[in-house]
């Protein structure tokens, strides 16, 4: 056997290991989630069966009930969905704008006490939601923005800004300063230079920050459960608890709502991925 042959064999073996490892990883990532999707289509008696039923039957019962009237297992899905969407989209947009400007300040300017400002901002993110929820509730109640979209949006913006600053700061830092200096020499203002040169390059960073911010808002529970109350502002994670009563959990129904919760997040993530990929070309820009 010549050396080329051994080399090729080793390479093939490595590829196989790589493939198997990737497959197992993906399986572990997917199965718990798919199990939820599967259960949303199975009758309750089968979900809870002992011994287990491995060949699933199919029913739309949970979805029908969920969209049905009150008392028949119906929950106001559309209102929850609308609330979640409004709150998440608006708070993400604002958080990205505010966070990007902050991130840019940290990445590009030198100023006294910079490290202090930075750590200070981050530390506010360290406050656990459980610890924050009651004081925040009392303050919001005094101002009168409990049970409104505005209140929740405000809270989520504050929650996501430090995080966005951090991420975009990291990405702006990776961009060579020469880029915008060159643009300024070409007659751009700093503002123009930012949007034309640096923003496109940092887009992958902004995209991932946006995904994180959106998913955080979309899925947040501790604050939402405290700051929302009626159908007019309750978000989907809070709505999940509609399937629990004092003594019971309607697991099938909960899975059905969970699926509705996951679909938009999935679609959005997939869409934003495009920008992520576009932004990645900047690796080539530098090289």
């Amino acid at each position: 056997m010549d050396r080329n042959q051994t080399y090729r064999n080793r390479k093939r073996a490595l590829n196989a290991v790589h493939f198997v490892a990737l497959f197992i990883t993906m399986a572990i990532i997917c199965i718990p989630g798919l199990w939820i999707v599967l259960n949303s289509f199975r009758p309750t008696v089968e979900i809870m069966a002992k011994p287990p039923v491995w060949t699933p039957s199919f029913t739309l019962e949970h979805y029908r009930n969920m969209f049905g009237g009150a008392g028949e297992g119906g929950v106001p899905v559309f209102s929850y969905f609308r609330n979640s969407l409004i709150v998440s989209v608006v708070s993400t947009t604002i958080a990205i704008l505010i966070g990007m400007s902050g991130g840019y300040a940290f990445a590009r300017y030198r100023f006294p006490g910079k490290a202090g400002y930075f750590v200070g901002l981050m530390l506010f993110r360290a406050v656990p939601g459980v610890a924050l929820s009651l004081p925040l509730f009392i303050v919001f109640a005094r101002v009168g923005i409990i049970d409104t979209h505005f209140g929740l949006i405000l809270a989520y913006v504050a929650m996501n800004v430090p995080f966005t600053i951090w991420l975009t700061d990291g990405f702006f830092r990776q961009i060579p300063k020469e880029l915008h200096e060159a643009a300024e020499i070409d007659g751009c203002t700093r503002w123009q230079a930012f949007w034309r040169v640096e923003f496109p390059v940092a887009r992958s960073g902004v995209a991932s920050a946006a995904i994180f911010a959106f998913l955080t808002s979309w899925n947040e529970f501790a604050l939402a459960s405290q700051l929302t109350r009626s159908v007019g502002s309750k978000t989907m994670p809070v709505g999940l608890l509609d399937f629990t009563a004092e003594f019971t959990i309607n697991w099938g129904g909960m899975c059905a709502l969970a699926v509705l919760m996951i679909i938009p997040a999935l679609v959005l993530t997939f869409l934003v991925q495009k920008h992520l990929i576009a932004g990645l070309t900047f690796g080539g820009v530098k090289g």
Binding site: L22, Y109, M122, L132, F163, W166, L240, T269, Q273
Partner: protein, 297 residues
């Protein structure tokens, strides 16, 4: 005409400072104050009674509190390290994939789309000893016993760690992957020409470049890790017999069920200090890593 203006960096930072002050700082001052009172939710008048450091003395001399504290530190350490290692591994694997990478990336982010509270319910059912998926699979394969996943001390910790790692590893993987994509090609090519082994290349070129990304992820996660509260609360509620009690479950039970907000806020501050220590630690590491590859601000 020269009008004195605020420095540019400050104008850029101002919106962030304002929002955070309004939403976090004011409530924090309030809860700091209330941690020095016997504040009981159902007796608002107790807010005006000053008891000094009584609450702090009470928790600091409470063995149960310290047990929860120690368990939380242990939990954080295990979870963060596991997530880092797995995230790094996944990112390197993904970076090698040549086709279908976009779909794979979306799948990779799948767990992040799950609300922590949903993750809690999901794993509570998966690890249910009687009708849960895991035991059903084990029993179908001929293992004739029901493992008490959420009860046995070690298994229960394992279960909540598994759920937390499942949910959060993608954060590491995605951030590290973004770092890998942002990586300049030149040094890698140069290393190849110089005859470095893949391991050497990884150790001396890839990893240092990734370090800032890793520490960003670490810090973000250590800040965010209190989200595990939702999961643990639903899966075990800190039990049985406090075997999975973390600071957050203890705090929320004290605050909301027992209504002792003053005491709970004192615990809250201890947990905030814990988070601050973790954050400062990683922030230092981040600056060091940046300096190493010449990106210090």
């Amino acid at each position: 005409m020269t009008r004195r203006r605020l420095p540019e960096w400050f104008v850029l930072l101002l919106p962030a400072i304002v929002v955070i002050a309004a939403v976090v700082l004011i409530p924090l001052v309030f809860s700091l104050y209330s941690s020095f009172t016997p504040y009981k939710l159902t007796r608002p008048a107790t807010l005006w009674k000053w008891v000094g450091t009584y609450n702090y003395e009470k928790i600091l001399s409470d063995g149960k509190f310290w047990a929860a504290f120690g368990r939380t530190v242990l939990f954080l350490t295990i979870v963060l390290n596991l997530e880092l290692l797995l995230g790094l591994g996944i990112a390197l694997m993904m970076n090698k994939v040549t086709w279908g990478q976009r779909s794979l990336r979306t799948i990779l982010m799948f767990p992040m789309m799950f609300s922590p509270i949903l993750v809690g319910f999901q794993f509570k059912f998966i690890f249910n000893d009687n009708i849960g998926l895991v035991n059903n699979v084990l029993q179908s394969m001929g293992y004739n016993a029901a493992l008490p996943w959420l009860v046995d001390g070690k298994l229960a910790m394992f279960s909540i760690i598994f759920a937390e790692v499942w949910m959060s590893t993608p954060v590491f993987a995605i951030l590290i992957l973004a770092g890998l994509f942002a990586m300049p090609r030149d040094p890698l090519e140069a290393a190849k020409v110089d005859g470095c082994t893949p391991i050497q290349t990884f150790r001396h070129i890839t990893l240092p470049f990734l370090m800032p990304f890793i520490y960003i992820a670490m810090t973000i996660r250590s800040l965010d890790v209190a989200r595990a509260y939702d999961i643990v609360q639903i899966m075990t509620g800190g039990g049985p017999a406090r075997r999975t009690e973390l600071l957050w479950t203890l705090m929320s039970r004290t605050g909301y069920v027992d209504s002792r907000m003053g005491l709970a806020n004192a615990m809250g501050y201890v947990s905030i200090i814990l988070s601050i220590l973790f954050t400062i630690y990683f922030f230092r590491k981040l600056s060091a890593a940046r300096a190493q590859i010449g990106m210090a601000g």
